[in-house]
């Protein structure tokens, strides 16, 4: 205590400066902490703000400060009572899960072929797959919309009207996620040693059998990564989810329409908008916390391989 009082302020400054010059690592350490503080605040503050808006009763919501103006946890129940929000959530999960199943199955076969076979036409076909992923979604919209509403026929065949069904969102999204997943899975599958596949073939397994009994199980972590990534991308998607359904819960509209319903109502209920947003983001937040390594590796590998 006494020693602290003897050193005057200039001395403290001098000592800090001295340390900074001679041990730059200390400075970097502090810079790192300041950076962590800044980025975490910037990333997480909007979630806090949503909670503040949700908990404040709607009548006292104007001119809100940094703390909730009242405490109204009932708003989270109100979301489900005002509109069939649970049905919207169910639709979203169903759409994301179906897309994931289709993409993993079809993408596995394609990833196996592209990853483990060297054949004529391999590179051009890969380029076709890659080029598709660069087109903006608006370039697919008009024909698909006309096809799904029964205004145009494909190769003269009668085609089921997919507008306002889950398939109207699932099919286009399966195609648009496919390139990323093919590239991810083909790198995973190509890493399995040839010997294991040959062994299965000698045991009498077919090539398809070897794919689903040996290669897919051995690359389970990779397949899981691809699956989680597909689920997140589809759940978060806006374009086709918004335009391929009318927007009522019965028309298989996903959760984004549920949330927009609150924005569209005559009585502006900001607290309900915020509460619905929090509920809608929860599944994704849980997924990130449980599977962060998969998501990180999938994202980086997928993007850098392409």
């Amino acid at each position: 205590m006494a020693r602290a009082h003897t050193g005057d302020e200039k001395n403290v400054l001098e000592r800090t400066a001295h340390r900074a010059v001679h041990e730059p690592d200390v400075v970097y350490r502090w810079l790192t902490y300041i950076g962590i503080g800044f980025f975490l605040t910037a990333s997480l503050f909007p979630f806090y703000w949503l909670t503040v808006v949700a908990l404040t009763p709607n009548r006292s919501i104007s001119g809100l400060g940094l703390l909730p103006n009242g405490f109204n946890p009932g708003v989270f129940l109100e979301v489900f009572q005002t509109i069939p929000f649970l049905r919207y959530m169910f639709n979203s999960v169903l759409i994301a899960a179906s897309t994931t199943v289709i993409v993993l199955f079809v993408g596995s076969i394609a990833g196996y072929v592209f990853g483990r076979y060297d054949f004529r036409g391999r590179t051009p076909l890969m380029v076709v797959v890659l080029v598709i992923s660069y087109f903006p979604p608006v370039a697919f919209l008009i024909p698909l919309f006309r096809l799904f509403t029964g205004n145009v026929s494909l190769f003269g065949l009668p085609y089921p009207q997919l507008y306002n069904t889950p398939w109207g969102v699932v099919m286009p999204l399966s195609a648009l996620v496919m390139p990323l997943i093919i590239f991810l899975l083909s790198t995973f599958y190509s890493q399995i040693p040839d010997g294991l596949e040959d062994a299965a073939r000698i045991e009498g397994s077919t090539r398809i059998g070897a794919l689903f009994r040996v290669i897919v199980p051995l690359s389970a972590p990779g397949v899981a990564t691809a699956g989680i990534l597909t689920f997140i991308i589809v759940y978060n998607e806006f374009f086709f989810s918004y335009l391929m359904v009318t927007g009522t819960a019965d028309s298989w509209a996903p959760v984004l329409h549920g949330i927009l319903q609150f924005q569209g109502t005559q009585s502006v209920a900001y607290n309900l908008m915020a509460a619905a947003s929090i509920i809608g983001v929860l599944p994704m937040a849980l997924l990130v916390m449980l599977a962060q390594d998969r998501i990180v590796s999938g994202l980086t590998q997928g993007a850098l391989k392409e």
């Binding site: 970097y28 054949f119 994704m284 994202l299």
Partner: protein, 326 residues
């Protein structure tokens, strides 16, 4: 009883057929096998991606036909493109009008892309440098930082809608006093563009950070030891080791984000409206809603062309760099 029996017989037959099919696939030569296996994926991509692209390309060469039952008019060649690029198309919002840059589609989209991507790159780089350090609780810091990336677009939009709602937010008042925002920011084109850019930066910086982090972690650590031995400062180490080695990854990440930013639509629709911030994708939708199929398709392909030019430029630069050594 009898129906059950016949059913099981049927399923047995189906199973045998299945085996037959599998056996036939097994007996194919390798090349044949490969193409049979690629059938499902190209059936899906063919109907959901390739056919729509060809169809859109085709109607972009046909006139608008608002009145009649068939919205696709007569073949007019490249006229739609010419009319859009010269500003004669008379769209809901102009394609390019330098007198009103904040309400014409090309400048709005380019401003959005340039500002958002540059900011995301800088912030992402900083985040990646932080996450590359060793410190306690690093995993949880990473979760916190990537959380925005996992937020659905509609909720991302809702967050920024609520943050900049004048009757609600604590942010709007002070910003208005500083003269940065107008009275109703979500209805003002200039302010809304700024808010949409902020929203994009909030969500996508983490994506940039993760890609750059992957690049950072692939750098051989012994290079830094050598640098330290020869007395290089941290800054010098960054300039001579970190930056050049992470540059290829950075460029890929940059390309990815730029392409995605050029397609922006959902964020604009939720935060503000397509009429206030008319990005190129917005313009396609509003033109399509006005039943002008030909023009809408042509704008869609203008976006695709911009992306293609960007890709070509990038590939050329990348090739040059590879030939240039390092």
């Amino acid at each position: 009883m009898s129906t059950k029996k016949s059913q099981s017989a049927g399923s047995a037959r189906a199973y045998r057929l299945d085996l037959k099919l599998l056996n036939r696939i097994e007996r194919l030569s390798e090349t044949q096998f490969v193409y049979v296996m690629l059938l499902p994926v190209f059936a899906l991509l063919g109907t959901m991606a390739i056919w729509p692209l060809l169809y859109t390309a085709n109607i972009s060469l046909h006139a608008d036909n608002i009145a009649s039952a068939d919205p696709v008019g007569a073949f007019v060649g490249l006229e739609n493109y010419v009319r859009i690029l010269t500003g004669e198309a008379n769209l809901r919002r102009p394609f390019l009008d330098l007198n009103t840059p904040f309400t014409s589609a090309l400048p709005v989209t380019l401003m959005f892309t340039a500002v958002a991507v540059v900011a995301e790159t800088l912030l992402g780089f900083a985040m990646a440098l932080i996450l590359d350090q060793e410190f306690r609780g690093r995993r949880w810091v990473r979760v916190g930082m990537i959380l925005p990336w996992t937020v659905p677009i509609v909720i991302q939009g809702m967050i920024f809608y609520l943050l900049f709602q004048p009757s609600l937010g604590f942010l709007v008042g002070p910003l208005q006093n500083l003269g940065l925002l107008s009275g109703s920011p979500l209805a003002n084109s200039q302010d809304s563009l700024l808010i949409v850019i902020l929203g994009d930066i909030w969500k996508q910086s983490a994506f940039m950070a993760l890609l750059i982090l992957a690049g950072l972690q692939s750098i051989d650590r012994s290079l830094y030891d050598v640098a330290e031995m020869s007395g290089a400062s941290r800054l010098q180490q960054f300039r001579t080791i970190t930056f050049p080695l992470v540059l290829p990854t950075l460029l890929v990440a940059l390309l990815f984000r730029t392409i995605a930013a050029l397609k922006v639509y959902g964020l604009v629709e939720t935060v503000s409206s397509c009429n206030t911030v008319p990005t190129l994708s917005c313009l396609v939708i509003s033109t399509w809603n006005a039943n002008r199929y030909g023009s809408a398709a042509a704008i869609a392909f203008v976006i695709a062309t911009i992306i293609a030019l960007l890709l070509l430029f990038y590939l050329q630069q990348f090739r040059k760099q590879e030939h240039g050594g390092i």
